[in-house]
């Protein structure tokens, strides 16, 4: 479902003397449907960079990143937008939404974007918010005013709202209490059971052990100084 082949990444800092910083080379990774692969490596090793390249948020310098039938490394913006709408979900560490939009709508939005009826989308949004223990009194409020943990849970509800065949999870259990952490792990297990291919970053080792089928240490993709 997700196939990363020989991917390299460099950052060129035009305003700092044109410094070229190679951060990744020869990255290879395959994730099958129903499989969860954890990216590991010390801070700065390139876990988030690799994940962002798969999402099309960072441009790959070379190589191919196939998700479904799209090569994210060379696709047109609108092909990537379609991929993100229908196929590839991403739960980032931060919730980025238009201020003032009610939580229920924030969670329902990914489903409305793929054409689900509003009634059905809101029903599913309620179910997820309930499971993630967001009190009903908050549903009509904008999540921009919520606590960090609440925002993270709204972000997760939004990320799992549409049944994506492929998902990227960046620290989905960070800043969560034990009960909510268990719920998130259940959501990941359910997604795997229905065949989603998942790539995750989990600093929480116990969580990683419970959901990940394999681990890939991204520091082996760190370019060596010649």
């Amino acid at each position: 479902m997700i196939s990363v082949r020989n991917v390299a990444k460099t950052f060129t800092l035009h305003n700092q003397g044109g410094a070229v910083i190679p951060v990744m080379a020869g990255a290879d990774l395959e994730v099958a449907p129903g499989e969860c692969v954890a990216l590991t490596g010390s801070s700065g090793a390139g876990k988030s960079t690799l994940m962002r390249m798969i999402y099309g948020n960072y441009l790959a310098a070379s190589g191919s990143i196939i998700v479904g039938d799209v090569d994210v490394a060379t696709a047109e913006p609108r092909e990537i937008l379609k991929l993100r709408r229908e196929t590839l979900g991403y739960v980032s560490q931060f919730l980025r939404v238009v201020p003032r939009v009610a939580t229920l709508n924030v969670v329902a939005e990914p489903m409305l974007a793929v054409g689900m009826e509003r009634v059905a989308a809101e029903a599913r949004a309620r179910e997820l918010l309930n499971r993630l223990r967001i009190p009903e009194t908050l549903w009509e409020l904008s999540p921009t005013t919520f606590s960090g943990g609440e925002q993270q849970r709204v972000n997760i509800a939004r990320g799992f709202a549409h049944v994506f065949p492929a998902m990227l999870l960046d620290e989905p259990t960070a800043s969560l209490d034990a009960a909510n952490r268990a719920t998130v792990l259940d959501l990941i297990h359910e997604a795997k059971a229905r065949g989603a291919a998942i790539i995750g970053i989990f600093h929480d080792e116990e969580a990683r052990a419970r959901v990940a089928d394999r681990e890939i240490d991204v520091s082996r993709f760190t370019p060596r100084a010649a």
């Binding site: 060129t12 305003n15 960072y58 441009l59 913006p77 609108r78 003032r100 793929v114």
Partner: protein
């Protein structure tokens, strides 16, 4: 949602010069139905010149602007007759000015401002026009009891929302916006952004938004073009251009944003 195969707008090699100075040059892009494209750049980078060329307010020196018309398919709007282009401006196109006063008739009531667009496309039944005007004022969160007030009695944010209602009442397919949230209070900006996002999705609108506010484009635009000295120096997915900018100018622009 299916992805339509035909672009709504195809822009080819647009160039506009002011004497020896370049307004904008070598601009090429396609815009698909339902897509929002943002144009950012510093003052004087040519973004407003480009927008005005695209919307038919300025005549470019060279290039083609192909619009997928309802009746005849792709047509070069630069080769259209003046009445034909004006008709487009009243029906399928809309232009939201930075300064709401440029897009409103200040001597006419709020309801009249909205109703006028409807009359321009042939609506004649007063009751229906008023009903639709009130419906649109409601959609942009202007209370019904203000329908007979003139825009001069409105705050800046309300004027901007009224301008949007006036523009969208005829169900355009393409909206040009020049700094639509410029000069507005941030809380009003957020309401406006929410409103615009909802309208884009519900009506399947395509939009071209010129702004210098990177936070606005991140939330509204699917794609981004970065302009400098009349040239498009970088284009791509909005979040990719903002998070992994490739051009030196974009890097400077992104790193210059003040954090709150």
């Amino acid at each position: 949602m299916s992805t339509p195969a035909t672009p709504l707008l195809q822009v080819r090699d647009i160039r506009k010069t002011y004497g020896a100075r370049i307004g904008c040059t070598d601009v090429n892009f396609d815009l698909y139905p339902g897509e929002v494209i943002g144009i950012v750049g510093e003052s004087g980078s040519g973004k407003s010149t480009l927008l005005n060329c695209l919307a038919g307010h300025l005549a470019p020196d060279a290039g083609e602007i192909l619009f997928n018309t309802r009746a005849d398919g792709l047509k070069d709007t630069l080769k259209m007759s003046e009445p034909e282009r004006r008709m487009l401006g009243r029906t399928d196109w809309a232009f939201v000015h930075q300064n709401a006063r440029d897009g409103l008739r200040m001597g006419v009531s709020a309801g009249g401002n909205v109703g006028e667009r409807l009359m321009a496309v042939g609506a004649r039944h007063y009751g229906n026009i008023r009903e639709q005007a009130i419906d649109w004022l409601d959609r942009v969160e202007i209370a019904e009891d203000r329908v007979d007030d003139r825009p001069g009695a409105f705050s800046g944010g309300m004027q901007q929302r009224l301008q949007i209602a006036r523009n969208l009442v005829t169900g355009p397919r393409l909206v040009f916006m020049d700094e639509p949230t410029g000069g507005l209070d941030v809380s009003v900006q957020a309401r406006l952004l929410d409103l615009l996002r909802g309208l884009v999705r519900e009506m399947g609108l395509s939009a071209i938004i010129v702004t210098h506010d990177l936070a606005v484009v991140r939330l509204l635009a699917d794609r981004l073009m970065v302009m400098k000295s009349g040239h498009v120096v970088e284009a791509g997915l909005t979040d990719q251009v903002l998070d992994d900018p490739q051009h030196g100018y974009t890097q400077l622009l992104v790193s210059s944003v003040l954090q709150v």
